[in-house]
């Protein structure tokens, strides 16, 4: 074991390999408040990457309704239970990570799903928790009856549990973009990674005898394009980009701005210790204890910042940029009522208004001798 630093838990921790950060780290922000669970992302991924035999059950991208939705069944509850209650103090995690809690004979604390755990991939869809609806009701934020949608892909972690657990070292992190891959040529299907990944985002393919996982659409990333699940996201909840370490954050980088500057986007289960690189803007209507359990102690701050966005044109503006282009937007700026997405070279990629304008046409279009009407 080596000692590595994980900024999300604000401390050193043990990991199977010594710390080695990629030149660039792929990262993403998902705005849970905008997710509609339409599953377009799921199908975009499915039809692109997992349409083969043995992959039928496999959803590299899935969307589940929290708290009763799971894919696979109970993935997070089971691990939280294995880990037991843990604590944070002043934003520092004082509990044990999955590496520190590993059982004898293993490198990572984990569990093995079975085929039936992957059945019912949308179990709990729209099932609510909290106060049950008996008759009529009136709810205000935070909702006493609640659920929210959680879209999940591989987190392309800085400290991947899959990578640590592979006896063959057939899983690696690409130095140029931090994308984590399972070498399909060398994998022997031991399923150690399936057991180890706390997010259960590595899948065993019984027809090829290998384990497979989200590749962050690297063939697209290499061309500066956002992954399939991002481009097809009609909720416009997603933005892909590059994240810096906290001390090197650049406000003109959309991901840095949301994660490091405004601290409105948070990692998923940071306490697991993997330093995951998909960051979530937490749902403002869900109970805070649940949000802290899932997104860490920053949840309260993130919710308050988001709820104040009406008077925060930068934040509201940047959110309007989500899903407006197929390209990766490494830089951005706001120009009054317009938000602009820029390339590394500052060339303009896309420009959108904060508020879609209204146009009023002439009642009679003399050029064509016709009445333009809303009641034709």
């Amino acid at each position: 074991m080596a000692r590595v630093f994980n900024w999300q838990i604000d401390r050193e921790m043990s990991y199977w390999y010594p710390e080695a950060r990629p030149k660039k780290q792929f990262a993403a922000v998902f705005d849970v408040n905008k997710c509609i669970a339409c599953q377009t992302c799921t199908l975009a991924c499915k039809t692109t990457w997992t349409s083969g035999k043995g992959q039928e059950y496999m959803l590299w991208n899935n969307v589940e309704t929290k708290p009763y939705g799971f894919y696979p069944l109970g993935w997070d509850v089971k691990l939280l239970e294995q880990l037991g209650p843990q604590r944070w103090k002043n934003g520092r995690y004082e509990g044990r990570t999955v590496f520190e809690a590993a059982e004898a004979g293993t490198r990572v604390l984990g569990w093995r799903p079975s085929a039936p755990d992957y059945a019912n991939p949308n179990v709990g869809e729209d099932d609510c928790a909290g106060q049950p609806i008996e008759k009529g009701a009136q709810l205000e934020v935070p909702h006493l009856t609640w659920f929210f949608y959680l879209a999940r892909i591989c987190n392309h972690c800085t400290y991947p549990a899959c990578l640590a657990s592979c006896p063959r070292a057939a899983i690696y992190k690409r130095p140029e973009d931090g994308i984590v891959l399972v070498d399909q040529g060398r994998c022997r299907g031991y399923q150690e990674c399936v057991r180890a990944c706390p997010y259960k985002k590595v899948f065993y393919n019984p027809m090829t005898g290998t384990s497979e996982k989200c590749i962050a659409c690297f063939p697209k990333i290499e061309k500066g394009e956002q992954p399939q699940c991002f481009v097809s996201c009609i909720g416009k909840i997603r933005m892909a980009g590059w994240i810096s370490r906290p001390e090197a954050a650049r406000p003109e980088n959309p991901i840095d701005y949301l994660v490091h500057v405004r601290k409105v986007a948070l990692p998923l289960f940071p306490q697991f210790g993997l330093e995951p690189n998909v960051y979530y803007i937490p749902p403002i209507h869900a109970p805070r204890p649940f949000l802290r359990q899932m997104f860490g102690p920053g949840a309260d701050h993130a919710v308050e910042v988001y709820r104040a966005a009406a008077d925060d044109p930068d934040l509201a503006g940047l959110l309007a940029l989500f899903g407006s282009t197929a390209q990766i937007v490494p830089r951005w700026r706001r120009e009054g009522d317009t938000v602009v997405g820029l390339g590394e070279d500052s060339a303009e990629i896309v420009r959108v208004p904060l508020r879609e304008p209204a146009y009023i046409r002439a009642a009679f279009d003399a050029a064509y001798g016709v009445q333009r009407t809303n009641v034709p």
Partner: protein
């Protein structure tokens, strides 16, 4: 025994060097227990002290072959693989009954062991029963570490897997063979506008089975139930450039019986001696890769062929 101690220690250290200091203590401890086991489980008398590969004009290719009835059996004790993560901590298969027959060109091992459940269906969280025979890649005074060899001192492994056997015995290469209820509407490579069996259609099918496209031996389709492997220490296992082994396993009343046959190593001549090790996996026990029951090295004595009438007993 001494030799084995030295090699083991070296293996452990080399793992420790390459991994993290934390590992050393436990691994050494683990080896120590293993050593004791190996020692204790050598009863003074009774079963033979070595595995004898008897001579027959031709090696049998199946476990049911009558030739085996006259071949001496050796009870090879199995121990936990608890040297390197992922380790097996709970004992399963206690021993494997080993017989060997050689014909001057090939040597066949018949392994028989108890296993209540037949696990030959691949799937998520499902693991296949299997077994393996390991020989040093070359002749040396002392043998490399029994757990997958060690850097610069490769071992050759013949690996048999129940799931592969089932595929060869006729299980269809389709998801319905694994999940009979499966109902899949569409695979791009089965679009009716593609002529079934045409190059374009096959290309497309491979494209959607990456591991197959890459020729990963795990990916199938299978032609043999066994695979030849080479390793120079844990984590280095790779497919051997020569795929010369054959094998077949069958379900017995109490478990499995499998024959694994390979050409005699160049350095192993009739009448000669070698060391051989074994491993067994029980799928129902979630044994896979390093999570296995394995053995220490056992001496193997190769009976001479007809032209070289063999000497009885003793070392050369």
């Amino acid at each position: 025994m001494k030799g084995e101690f030295r090699e083991l220690a070296r293996a452990v250290q080399c793992r420790a060097r390459r991994r993290a200091p934390a590992l050393r203590g436990c691994a050494v401890g683990a080896w120590f227990l293993a050593g004791i086991f190996a020692a204790c489980e050598r009863p003074p008398a009774g079963p033979p002290a070595e595995i004898t590969a008897v001579y027959r004009p031709a090696v049998p290719d199946g476990p049911e072959d009558s030739a085996w009835q006259t071949a001496p059996a050796f009870p090879a004790t199995l121990i936990l693989q608890d040297m390197v993560e992922p380790r097996l901590l709970e004992k399963s298969t206690p021993e494997v009954r080993v017989q060997a027959i050689a014909d001057g060109k090939r040597i066949a091992f018949r392994l028989e062991w108890a296993d209540e459940t037949r696990d030959d269906l691949p799937g998520v969280g499902r693991f296949s029963d299997g077994c393996a025979v390991q020989l040093p890649a070359r002749f040396e005074r002392d043998v490399p570490a029994p757990q997958m060899g060690e850097p610069g001192r490769p071992v050759e492994i013949t690996y048999w897997r129940a799931a592969w056997q089932a595929a060869l015995d006729g299980r269809e290469d389709s998801i319905k063979a694994l999940y009979p209820g499966a109902a899949v509407d569409h695979y791009p490579f089965q679009a009716p506008s593609l002529k079934p069996g045409s190059d374009a259609q096959r290309e497309m099918e491979l494209r959607y089975a990456l591991a197959r496209a890459l020729g990963n031996p795990m990916a199938g389709p299978r032609q043999r139930a066994v695979e030849d492997l080479v390793a120079e220490g844990p984590g280095t296992l790779r497919r051997s450039s020569q795929q010369f082994s054959t094998g077949r396993g069958v379900r017995t009343a109490t478990g499995w019986a499998a024959v694994l046959s390979r050409p005699l190593p160049a350095w192993l001549k009739p009448g000669g001696r070698a060391q051989v090790a074994f491993a067994v996996w029980q799928g129902s026990h979630e044994e896979t890769g390093g999570r296995k029951m394995r053995s220490v090295w056992f001496p193997l004595h190769l009976q001479g062929g007809p032209q070289a009438p063999e000497k009885r007993g003793g070392n050369p």
